[in-house]
Amino acid sequence: MLKNKLSRKSVLQLLGVTTTGIATFFWWFKTSSKPKSRLAMVMDLDKCIGCHACTVACKAENGVAIGGSRTRVLEQEHGTYPETSRFFMPMMCNHCEDAPCISACPNDAIIKKDNGLVDINKDKCRGFQLCVSACPYGAIYINPDREPDEHVKDYPARAVWKADKCNFCEHRLEEGLEPACSNTCPTDARIFGDLADPNSKVSKLVNGEKLKGLLEEEGTKPQVYYKGGMPEIFNPKKANNNRS
């Protein structure tokens, strides 16, 4: 890992000549003391209608196999007839500041990037699944596709017997696009942005309304924040997660 000394040139080569997005943040961080970016997402549970547009957008964008999922929407019913309610809970990798998956991996395949992304290095991953059980959000899965079709085999999500999860569609960020899920959300319930930028919509929401993440008591410092709804009574284990 330490064999190659880095020059600015090699960094640019490695990162490509992308002028927007994440690469810029990487470069800044290396050449100045400007703050890192902290990519985050706010889930507005008052707005989420459980339509699964995000689920399918992610499947298509990332070539996720049947049986795997980088994001899903759970639902839970509450109350006694006729005062019954139901709410929806979009779930994905929380890109935790203290991500239990990172320390659980014996192969150092999972890292916290400078932009805040928790990412899996597919070449290092050996499919041990310790990250899968370490994650309290159920956000990591092992790609079940042993023989991917020609037209999907190049998607990282189809790397055979490797762990996979959300990476905020980093390939889209590099093009100045937002993640596929928030891009298609019909009610704008998913808001993506950078918490290091105090003027971003996510910063204003998270700081202004003192938003919390899911299962904060686990000490993971999740970077997906939930607004409204009833996350305090939400129990992922009791929700209908579309898995029978």
């Binding site: 890992m1 330490l2 190659n4 880095l6 960094v11 961080f29 290396k30 707005k47 209608i49 339509c51 699964h52 399918v56 957008a57 499947k59 298509a60 964008e61 990332n62 070539g63 196999a65 049947i66 049986g67 019913e77 109350g79 007839y81 006729p82 019954t84 309610s85 139901r86 709410f87 203290d98 990172i102 320390s103 150092d108 890292i111 916290k112 400078d114 990412d119 290095n121 597919k122 070449d123 079940p144 596709d145 023989e147 079709d149 037209h151 999907v152 190049d154 790397a159 390939h171 889209r172 590099e174 093009e175 696009l177 596929a180 891009n183 019909p186 009610t187 704008d188 579309n242 898995r243």
Partner: protein, 755 residues
């Protein structure tokens, strides 16, 4: 590396961590993400056709492979968003059970044995007839020669935009048949007949500006007919604090997102609506002059009519507390503006036409349907080709039995097969287009028997993308292009009354030997010497782009191909005086029904036995009724449809969550699982549509069809065994006495636990 160390290193910005990042970056690049990003973002603007909402889309391909569908941000309707169904359109196109070649039946109908034939052979059969398994069948040319073009029955499910215009207005008219079946009476017919009887009931208000919505049985944000556009509008309205009250048998997602869910006993929305009107009049929350300018009745007549419909009376029937009815009525009456919305939950009932008419009456009294109409300009294309006259020839099979329905008006679609069975008309060539009547009508087994009878239907042709339950009974199958492989022109209005013109253009060549049927129709017309003036859908749409004022100046066809959408920004919203609407319907009064909307009780609902419940149906947000179950991403989300049963009812019947239960009606029985919930009325048992296919391919039914091409590694990864059940098997083809609309939400069934 330990997490803490990692963070420490990251914080001091050592070279090592950069190396790690860059290494990851580099290594990640060894598996490059091919997706809708980068140079692959070469988009083709087109239009969705997974559901009737028809949102504008952008399609992205990687080389020859279509990889992603997104919403077109230029659309003022769906504003760059598209739903789960739309995005799963890719798997509609590539699904492994797609029909890719013309097929001719070998063996008896429904035996599943097919011979692959050429288009020349297939079109030869349609034009000139020939032999199907030893039996002679007649073709289109013969029917014209014999002077019986009406014996060509064309029965479609989904067909809108210029698909409709070309196929029906031009091709079938020029051919000479008005024997055209639709799916009207299994869809929203009771609502449309209520509107036809009542007149121009367009609101005086802009929907988006109202302060309060009363929703009667409409899954507005689950499965609305304008799915994404209405979701966005309602979402913005909710943010603005608009109150939404949803009356529904079931806690739909719409009900869950409303300010209040008010459960109603199935089939009794009408009672609640009448009582709401009663309270408005009693409390003086109306404008006499406005009502009498708007409708053909006086306030005195309304008062007299509504006297018996007190909130207490309505509570007795519907179970909705009278106090709540009064509160909501007063809130509605006092609001600056409001809107009632409704759909199948309110009107696909025995009393559905009157329920919908009562809803209009409520909005007339509340002043939301007032003397002025808010009129927006429709997105109406100009077609430069002369239209053939509508032909007179029609088989007498579209109205049910004589006198069976008061207002049949030629489209009681679920009775077409019954009428054929009764021998009221024999179609020599029966073509089914984008429709699956076997599955989509009630009483599926009866439908199958009629389709299998070659003496009643000598030549059955199906135009389809998949081997549906109807298509598998056909003699000849024409492989249709999917919606991503064809040309259509569409037009819809937007929130602000701006007409949105848009097109569906191929984002991919038709797979295999499939062809857009609209082009096939043009070809058949040419062969028959019918001069339509155009030879393909593309030519027709090109003509329409150049003939439509404004669009022509903007760049016509080339502009449309590039952008997919054009808006008529010159259009203005107008407020015009309304022609008086018929709250009192002479036609109904003459047919023996109440001229003013009045209570009608379903004869079977008056007394229910201890184990009897009323079966109601619903749609979920990731499927259309019957055509999306070959889409793997959607089936993964929704593949089992247990029966929703109220906790108290389940206790009474000794049923627990996930128990197997038997549902028995007059036409059949089914076994399914119970979903015991606080989210459904105790008198109802509620089951979704969509599932329980026994054909259509491996994702839909769990069984590969005979034409499966095994091109999808995902099919080996399917982790669910349950493909749900199809409740239409136990719902009779019973139409409401006024419109003939199938009473989807009225069937009384006995429920018991299977031991």
């Amino acid at each position: 590396m330990k997490r803490r160390e990692f963070i420490q290193i990251a914080t001091i910005g050592s070279a090592a961590i950069f190396e790690a990042c860059d290494q990851v970056k580099n290594e990640s690049n060894t598996i490059s993400q091919k997706s809708s990003s980068s140079e692959l973002r070469k988009e083709i603007a087109s239009a969705c056709w997974q559901c009737v909402s028809r949102c504008s889309i952008l399609a992205y391909s990687n080389g020859d492979r279509l990889v992603k569908i997104e919403g077109n941000p230029k659309s003022l309707r769906n504003e760059g968003k598209v739903c789960a169904k739309g995005q799963a359109g890719i798997s509609q196109m590539y699904n492994p059970d797609r029909i890719l070649y013309p097929l001719r039946r070998i063996g008896p109908r429904g035996s599943g044995k097919w011979e692959k034939i050429s288009w020349d052979t297939a079109l030869g059969l349609i034009l000139d007839g020939g032999e199907i398994e030893g039996a002679k069948v007649k073709g289109l040319r013969t029917l014209r020669k014999e002077g019986t073009p009406e014996k060509f029955l064309f029965h479609y499910g989904r067909m809108v935009g210029t698909d409709y215009t070309i196929n029906i207005t031009y091709f079938l008219s020029a051919f000479g048949t008005s024997s055209i079946g639709n799916h009207d009476s299994i869809c929203n017919r009771a609502g449309s007949i209520a509107r036809r009887l009542t007149g121009d009931v367009a609101s005086s208000k802009k929907f988006d500006d109202v302060d309060i919505i009363l929703n009667f049985g409409r899954s507005l944000i689950d499965a609305g007919i304008d799915h994404i556009p209405i979701i966005r509008r309602v979402s913005k309205m909710r943010e603005r604090g608009v109150k939404i009250y949803t009356f529904d048998v079931r806690l739909s997602n719409t009900a869950a997102k409303s300010d209040k869910w008010i459960p109603v006993k199935p089939g009794t929305d009408l009672a609640v609506v009448l009582a709401l009107s009663h309270v408005l009049l009693r409390e003086g929350l109306y404008n006499k002059e406005d009502i009498e300018q708007t409708a053909n009745v006086t306030v005195a007549e309304l008062e007299e009519h509504l006297v018996p419909y007190t909130p207490e009376w309505a509570e007795e029937i519907s179970g909705v507390p009278s106090k709540l009815i009064e509160e909501i009525a007063v809130e509605y009456g006092k609001a600056k503006s409001g809107a009632c919305v409704s759909f199948r939950g309110a009107f696909m009932h025995f009393n559905g036409v009157q329920a919908q008419r009562a809803i209009y009456m409520l909005d007339v009294i509340a002043g939301n349907i007032g003397p002025e109409v808010r009129r927006t300009k429709p997105a109406r294309w100009t077609y430069p080709f002369p239209r053939p006259e509508k032909p007179k020839g029609q088989l007498p099979i579209f109205n049910g039995d004589k006198g069976q329905f008061a207002v049949p008006d030629g489209s009681v679609s679920h009775q077409i097969l019954t009428q054929i069975r009764k021998g009221r008309g024999r179609p020599e060539l029966y073509m089914v287009y984008c429709h699956n009547p076997v599955y989509a009508n009630g009483d599926c087994n009866d439908n199958i028997e009629v389709y299998k009878d070659t003496s009643k239907i000598p030549f059955l042709v199906s135009v389809d993308v998949g081997m549906s339950e109807t298509t598998e009974l056909a003699d000849l199958i024409l492989p249709d292009a999917s919606f991503l492989e064809r040309w259509t022109a569409e037009g819809k209005g937007t929130t602000d009354g701006i007409p949105e013109f848009y097109i569906r253009q191929p984002v991919h060549e038709p797979l295999g030997d499939s062809r857009s049927f609209v082009d096939v129709a043009c070809h058949l017309a040419n062969e028959l010497g019918l001069n339509l003036g155009f030879n393909s859908a593309e030519e027709f749409i090109k003509g329409a782009c150049e003939a439509t004022d404004g669009l022509r100046e903007a760049g016509g066809f080339e502009y449309m191909k590039k952008h997919g959408i054009w808006h008529d920004m010159e259009a203005r919203v107008e407020f015009v005086k309304r022609k008086k609407i018929n709250l009192f319907s002479e036609r109904l009064a003459k047919s023996g029904f109440s001229g003013l909307p009045a209570w009608m009780s379903h004869p079977d609902h008056k007394k229910l036995d201890r184990n009897e419940l009323i079966l109601t149906t619903f749609k979920v947000n990731v499927h259309t009724h019957s055509r999306t179950q070959n889409c793997k991403w959607l089936m993964e989300i929704y593949h089992e449809n247990p029966a929703w049963i109220n906790t108290a009812t389940a206790d009474r019947l000794g049923i627990q969550e996930n128990d197997w239960i038997k549902l028995e009606s007059g036409v059949g029985e089914l076994i399914t699982k119970a979903r015991v919930t606080q989210g459904v009325h105790p008198n109802a048992i509620s089951v979704s549509h969509h599932l329980g296919h026994w054909a259509f391919g491996e994702y839909a039914s769990g069984e590969k069809s005979s034409i499966n091409v095994e091109n999808d590694s995902d099919s080996d990864l399917v982790w669910w065994n349950d493909h749900g059940m199809h409740l239409n098997k136990i719902i009779p083809n019973f139409g409401d006495p006024i419109s003939g609309a199938l009473c989807w939400n009225d069937t009384v069934i006995s429920v018991s636990k299977v031991s």
